[in-house]
């Protein structure tokens, strides 16, 4: 966790995306015009969110197997960072939609699904804050997190493909070709997805480490006990 290699790669990728995302040639498309470049910034927010929620899902299951509160810390912090990127993805989407689809909110299956999954994850935080007991909070939180992830996938990826959607690649063949990414856009889009996902994970690991320090302090007697054993 403390190695700097992947963080340097993350910085290089993100800086490359910021510069190349604005300067590299993009196809001339009607309505979209220059906003096609939002693909490098809006879409990776969602990929980052999926990566973070995926990590939270993994650690939730791990917590249910081990009952180690440290796994719960991972799950909570990955979810919290995921919610931040969820909101960012949503707001950027609304801004983009305002100028291309004509309104910040359009009756689109993908928007509804994303809003629902966002509310499900908000409920996760509320549910946790409503419980006092640490163990109970962690256990119920972990079970709920698994449910939330299992709901998020069909809401964002499956249902929008079964009905018509304004988003490219939906309402039919979900293949990536549907994004009609041209050659140059791929050079920026794929690094963008990887770079932003690493960026999100970096922030999440910082929060995790801080919470782990706090956890260690609060349970110092336990660690002392383990040492004397």
């Amino acid at each position: 966790m403390r190695s700097w290699g992947w963080k340097i790669i993350c910085i290089i990728l993100c800086m490359y995306v910021v510069v190349a995302g604005l300067l590299m040639p993009v196809p001339r498309l009607d309505i979209l015009n220059e906003t096609i470049r939002n693909l490098y910034f809006h879409v990776p927010m969602w990929f980052t969110m999926i990566a973070l929620y995926g990590c939270a899902f993994f650690y939730s299951i791990k917590y249910l197997r081990t009952s180690d509160l440290r796994d719960d810390i991972y799950a909570v912090q990955f979810t919290n960072t995921g919610i931040a990127f969820n909101i960012l993805g949503y707001v950027t989407g609304m801004e983009w939609a305002k100028f291309t689809w004509g309104a910040a909110w359009v009756p689109d299956a993908k928007l509804l699904g994303a809003a629902m999954s966002m509310l499900i994850y908000f409920a996760y935080s509320i549910l946790r804050s409503g419980l006092k007991d640490e163990e109970k909070k962690a256990k119920i939180g972990a079970v709920y997190n698994v449910f939330a992830f299992a709901m998020m996938i069909p809401l964002i990826f499956v249902i929008p493909r079964m009905v018509d959607s304004l988003h490219p690649g939906n309402g039919g063949n979900p293949a990536f070709k549907q994004y009609d990414l041209d050659k140059y856009m791929r050079f920026v889009f794929y690094p963008a997805v990887i770079g932003w996902a690493m960026f999100g994970i970096w922030i999440a690991t910082l929060k995790v480490r801080l919470e782990l320090v706090r956890y260690r302090r609060e349970n110092a007697f336990q660690f002392e006990l383990e040492k004397t054993k």
């Binding site: 403390r2 963080k7 910085i11 993100c14 800086m15 910021v18 510069v19 604005l22 300067l23 001339r28 498309l29 009607d30 015009n33 220059e34 970096w202 922030i203 910082l206 480490r209 801080l210 782990l212 320090v213 260690r216 302090r217």
Partner: protein
């Protein structure tokens, strides 16, 4: 003089027509070279964010060492 005027109007018309035939992009921003200003500003902001992240990372690293 009149001949020159006619050619200029004609040229303007041609460029106008050809420009409207193409989808509108930020060509003027690019030709003025001002897009680079935006790039520099964004790059600065992100450099700042990453510097901040690295600082936080190192601070937390120190905290972890103290709590070992």
């Amino acid at each position: 003089m009149g001949k020159h005027l006619l050619t200029t109007i004609f040229l303007l018309l041609i460029t106008g027509v050809s420009a409207s035939a193409q989808t509108e992009m930020a060509d003027t921003l690019r030709s003025n070279g001002k897009i680079y200003v935006v790039v520099v500003v964004l790059a600065t902001i992100f450099a700042g964010i990453f510097a901040y992240l690295i600082m936080l990372d190192r601070k937390i690293g120190k905290l972890e060492k103290e709590n070992k």
